[in-house]
């Protein structure tokens, strides 16, 4: 962290002065870790039409938090991670076994998870308000240990991307074709949805449940407007996410609004720009 503090002190901002405003420096580092994470995952969420699914995962993460709190864990986010992983696995199993369209299956899971979360968190007449901070999120409360964890996840996601992005992409394009080339489609999809589950759950506290899905959809949606191949697609998605992330944090600091919301609004502007520049034909 010392290295980071001295790096930041090179920036010409008042909060960047040495020895002050550590929460802002932590937040900036957290944004620099979280935004590429979402920028990368976003590409496949959009490509395999899973934006509704990732939305449902956010809801299940909240339910996991409620379960964790109920069981009296000090650190409810681990319970939430486990719950979200189980949720992803169960969802993939049901989708594979049932003849229903996948958005219907998602609807079933999503509403069940939300209902369970609200039920558990209000059980015995307790107030829901302590979960309010999950809805909005607060990036300024991030601690160095959490940033380290998120950085580790970023490394793991990049490794996953290096090892199995090709298989994942083919599975999304044409499952039968992928299967005929020896790809185990079910496991590819399951591991990917578990990765989303972990990332969404761990970053929900900082980004906020209500806007987290926009971070999984907007970067790649914008990139799709202009990219002509996979490399461009990833680059534009990643760039958009990081720039919007940093800009959103700054805006939030100087004019005081939720950082998650500000980041999302920047991404929306980014989408508008790419839409106007979109490739023709």
């Amino acid at each position: 962290m010392e290295l980071w503090y001295s790096l930041v002190s090179l920036l010409p901002f008042e909060w960047a002065q040495p020895g002050t405003m550590y929460f802002m420096k932590h937040a900036l580092l957290a944004v620099l870790v979280i935004s590429p994470l979402f920028g990368i995952l976003s590409t496949m969420v959009v490509h395999s039409r899973m934006s509704f699914f990732s939305d449902a995962l956010g809801h299940s993460a909240f339910t996991g938090m409620a379960i964790g709190a109920l069981c009296g864990f000090n650190e409810p986010s681990w319970a939430a991670v486990i719950f979200a992983i189980l949720f992803a696995l169960l969802f993939n199993l049901v989708r594979r076994r049932s003849a229903l369209a996948s958005d219907t299956v998602i609807g079933v899971f999503s509403s069940t998870a939300v209902a369970l979360g609200i039920f558990l968190s209000t059980l015995g007449g307790r107030s829901f308000t302590k979960f309010n901070n999950l809805l909005i999120g607060d990036i300024l409360s991030v601690e160095p240990a959490k940033i380290g964890l998120l950085a580790l996840i970023l490394v793991l996601v990049v490794l996953l991307w290096a090892g199995s992005f090709n298989q994942l992409m083919l599975s999304a394009v044409h499952p039968a074709l992928a299967d005929s080339r020896g790809i185990r489609v079910f496991w590819q999809e399951t591991v990917f949805s578990m990765a989303i589950a972990v990332v969404v759950t761990l970053s929900m506290t900082w980004v906020g449940l209500l806007v987290i899905n926009s971070l999984l959809v907007l970067p790649a949606a914008s990139a799709r407007n202009v990219a002509r191949n996979m490399a461009q697609y990833h680059l534009i998605s990643l760039l958009g996410a990081v720039v919007a992330g940093v800009a959103g944090l700054m805006t939030s600091y100087y004019i005081g609004a939720s950082a998650g919301a500000a980041i999302t609004l920047y991404l929306a502007v980014w989408f508008l720009i790419t839409f106007l520049l979109r490739k023709k034909g």
Partner: protein, 267 residues
Amino acid sequence: MRKIKHGRLATGCADACCLKLEGLSVRLQGDSILEDVSFHLHCGEIVALIGPNGAGKSSLFRSILGQMPYRGSITFSPAGGPAIRLADGTVTGGKRPLVGYVPQAPSFDRGDPVSVLDFFTAATAKWPVWLPVPKGYRERAAASLARVHGEDLLDKPMGALSGGQLQRVLLALALEPVPHILILDEPLSGVDIEGEHQLLEMLDELRTQYDLSIFLSTHDFATLSQFADKVILLNKRVLKAGPPDEVLSSPEFYETFHLRMGKGGEA
């Protein structure tokens, strides 16, 4: 279009490579999809599978690909080698024959940021395609596409290809590596007349060049006699199998497609 009738056609499977299906049955959730299907597929032969929608054509393909459980047996004998039995996707007694598969055209959105090069590299190489694809892989993909006269398609987005171009890309992919058996699921649907002509000519070229069996399903009966060595009429079971003219003029054919005798084989 046809230039060479393959010499091995008339004789049995004694010395030629051959895929044998015997007593194949498939049931799906209690419904019978295929019943007692038996036939042979020889190397260098183009066999067309015809039948109404829901006749079990795709299920038959998926059984050969090992993607669907079945009863009965599927065996493959390479030229001069011992027979290999394929059971439910696992193989007993030897190396699994390579089956190239050209699926029913997958749907790409026009805006999909997947270039032909991305698609090809993703399917054939370990290089993760979210990084710029290096020259070596590019040349390999170009060489494969050259087999189907599609080198110029390399940088096009998949979503911008015409039906015929998409089929050619999928065909090039199925030929990498060159398989023993090539299966094409309705390759002619969504392809215009010129594309169709090109594709059929290409298949004819391939089977003589690589001596592979080509097994395809189609609804286009008009061109059957120009390219197919054998036609199999399927509707859960094999209703008729033989040379195109024989099958297309059979009472079974007319009955299956609700045509009156005496009318031409157009559908």
